[in-house]
Amino acid sequence: MFETLRQSLKIGVVTTSYPDTPAEVSRRARGKPEIDWANWRDARPAAAVCPTGAIECRDEAGTLAATRTATLDLGKCIFCGLCADVDPAIRMTPQCELAARSRQGLRHTAQYALNDNGTHQRLLATPPAAASAEALAAAGRELQTRIQSLLGRSLHIREVDAGSCNGCEVEIHGLNSPVYDLERFGIHFVASPRHADMLLVTGPVTRNMELALRKTYAATPDPRLVVAVGACGCSGGIFGVNYATRGAVDAVIPVDVYIPGCPPNPHALLHGILLAIGRLSPYASSPTAAPKSGRALFQNPAPPQD
């Protein structure tokens, strides 16, 4: 008993103050790939080495000139950085807080004029995620108010592994560690879907787990939130859709928030969970863009920054 106390006192507090302070990730960590869209001259080498099809290009003949649509899909990305190895226009950044409320919000697309030799030339359009930013922001505010009034400040999560490699589970476990300490937000993991407000689902959903996932969803009382975790949960990831898997979680049950990553680190998970329950501003590019006190997190969100 004395030994137990002595050690605990010796160590002291190890809990991070995220999200009040920035995510404690290494500058070497591979998070979001940044593409220099304006100067990207050829998407093909990156698309060829991408193991999950997160970078894709589609060429169209067009009436006036041939065009190429290049897509970076963070929902498919496993953050291996192979694209950055072959393409100087791509740079891996440590940015890990990538959760989005819609699958579309994880896709970045640009359209280029296509040259004869297969490279591309001019950026024609970047259909920005901000196209319907105002509508999205309004919907977000409404949802946030609704969720907050329903769930208050406490949240119970049921984790469902619907086919994952267990990598996401390793990091989800980390949320319970004293370093991330999910309980400081009043958020707990519970043993039964019947006690849960949120399902945290990792994928891809296998054929053998599909029924179990549907039943778990049905057993979760309304109102309920579903968060899809990891590249496989968001899109099927490297496994995609095949005879044994259905792919993304949203192919089987409706999803509210998508957390990219392979696996997402505990910061990214925390960011996604807080985003789902409206405790983070969904408008700021990062919750740490404007530091807030812990208490401010529970109040109404700041108006959109951009």
């Binding site: 496993i78 953050f79 267990n166 319970n176 560690s177 053998n208 778990t216 044994a244």
Partner: protein, 531 residues
């Protein structure tokens, strides 16, 4: 044929005993002998390896060779630990009569693997004591996914047919407790059906393969470089070990040797993976007997390792680090210093953690004599890794089949015969401190130079075995290459596949409340088993 002397004399002995039936024998590596034989000889060879050469059946798998040879091939992979060699017996199974005599009655270790062959290839294993489906659950249609005429992207009709009928245990006061596939904790899915009378468990039926993702079929559709990333995703907590086993196999097939520095960095990463998982298991085992303080310390220490992993490789679980011909990221002097500091500081903290665990008499009371797996049962089931070493099986691929940098470091392999939860913790404890010693030895002699060797297009029709002692136990990847830098077959063998049946044996007579800690002491991978 370039063969290890011991393997050469083995081949001579077999030729003497069975006559000239081994003329097609070939050895792509000096320690890897292929014996193509007729099916009739398979049983006799099995018995010879077991009885005369302390061999063991480390893997059973099949391959659809109807395209070139008009047959399926079934391979029996024997590990002859004493002479540090592998023998792969290859048996043809005619396409028109897909049947082979089962080895399971003689070697229970083959049980699940033979059933898997039945499910995935449609080869009947004649005489199998329990030939029911395992990988494809009962309500799947009649398909054989690993046959070449089955398309990876086949859209199968909805589930139909009878649901699984569990074995019945009868008697006065016997009742059954179903658990899963969605468990209470944050763990992978599987179904456990306990039959109990009062508190003690009479029988535990395991039903797995809920997370079967068609990985082996998927390997056949990918260019080889993409296979490395898929291998990382076989079993999340052993990503680097699986990817390295895959890379070993490809490098052998390509005839490429990774440079010394790459081997050293691989060894460092493998030990980091072992450390993170062993420390986490310490904590999880303590939690399951309600000693949560130790769990909190363990999680804190594990987080340290993961953060160092991120600093070294850009990913907390070492994803993206493995690469064909070596590793993808070099360590600069600052990173090496960081790793050296981790080894010193974490070792002290692990000693504190062990001290804390030892100071708790209740912990020892709960762990000792709980979940006993006797050496006899362990040997019959071919139990490997931590659980094997806690039940008297003195083996470790790092020592017996050294690869990477393991032939240049000194370490001991802890072996106990008690086979209870306590000794599975003891194996981990010793291995943690051996890992620190290995880290230090590698850092002290870290070779300079490149971290990768060029692996071009891999020639077709080559076979190779890749193997790594992951933190959980031995991992095998067996590959057969195809034209166009692809694979026609990639067999993945995670130690969990071998060890799951042992859990049923270990829990018998224990009480259900002890199941979590017994289960955690094995800590088997569902994803690695189900693939």
């Amino acid at each position: 044929m370039n063969l290890l002397p011991a393997l050469r004399s083995l081949l001579d002995e077999l030729t003497h005993r069975f006559g000239a039936q081994f003329e097609d024998a070939h050895a792509p590596q000096p320690n890897e002998l292929y014996l193509p034989v007729q099916a009739e000889l398979a049983g006799a060879l099995c018995s010879t390896f077991y009885k005369k050469h302390q061999g063991r059946l480390a893997g059973v798998f099949a391959e659809d060779a109807r395209g070139g040879h008009q047959v399926f091939f079934v391979y029996h992979l024997y590990a002859l630990d004493a002479i540090h060699a592998f023998v792969l017996v290859r048996v043809p199974v005619p396409a028109h009569q897909a049947e082979l005599v089962s080895l399971t009655d003689a070697v229970p270790a083959a049980n699940w693997q033979e059933r898997e062959i039945q499910d995935l290839f449609g080869i009947q294993l004649v005489g199998h004591p329990n030939p029911r489906r395992c990988v494809l659950h009962d309500d799947w249609p009649e398909v054989f996914p690993l046959r070449k005429d089955f398309d990876l992207h086949s859209v199968l009709p909805p589930f139909a047919g009878p649901r699984h009928k569990f074995r019945e245990v009868e008697g006065e006061g016997v009742f059954q407790v179903p658990v899963g596939p969605v468990h209470a904790g944050i763990i992978e899915p599987g179904h456990f059906l306990f039959s109990v009378a009062g508190e003690p468990v009479l029988y535990l039926q395991l039903r797995m393969f809920y997370v079967h993702k068609g990985i082996e079929k998927l390997f056949e559709s990918l260019p080889i470089p993409h296979g490395v990333r898929l291998a990382e995703s076989i079993s999340g907590d052993s990503g680097f070990a699986h990817a390295t086993a895959f890379c070993h196999a490809i490098e052998r097939a390509a005839g490429v040797a990774p440079p010394p520095r790459a081997r050293a960095l691989r060894t460092l990463c493998l030990e980091l993976e072992r450390l993170a998982n062993h420390i986490a298991d310490f904590g999880a085992i303590c939690t399951d007997v309600a000693f949560v303080t130790a769990q909190m310390h363990a999680m804190r220490l594990k987080e340290r390792v993961l953060r160092v992993n991120e600093e070294l490789t850009g990913n907390r679980l070492l994803r993206g680090m493995a690469g064909l011909g070596g590793v993808r990221f070099d360590f600069d002097p600052g990173q090496i210093r960081l790793l050296a500091e981790l080894a010193d500081d974490l070792e002290r903290q692990c000693q504190d953690l062990v001290g804390l665990m030892r100071s708790n008499a209740g912990l020892r009371d709960r762990l000792e004599t709980t979940g006993v797996l006797t050496p006899k049962v362990a040997r019959d089931l071919g139990v490997v890794g931590i659980a094997g070493r806690a039940s008297g099986f003195d083996h470790d691929l790092r020592r017996d089949f050294p690869d990477d940098f393991y032939d240049q470091v000194q370490f001991t392999v802890p072996v106990f015969t008690e086979g209870d939860v306590y000794h599975r913790v003891e194996v981990r404890r010793e291995e943690i401190f051996q890992s620190f010693a290995i880290l230090r030895q590698v850092l002290a002699r870290l070779p300079a130079g490149p971290i990768t060797a060029e692996v071009g297009e891999v020639p077709p029709d080559r076979v190779a075995l890749g193997y790594v002692e992951g933190w959980r136990g031995e991992i095998f990847h067996w590959i057969h290459t195809a034209p166009g830098n692809r694979l026609t077959r990639c067999k993945v063998k995670d130690p969990s596949l071998q060890n799951w049946p042992a859990l049923s044996e270990a829990i018998m007579g224990n009480i259900i409340p002890d199941f979590p800690v017994v289960n955690k002491s094995f800590n088997l991978s569902y994803a690695g088993t189900d693939r």
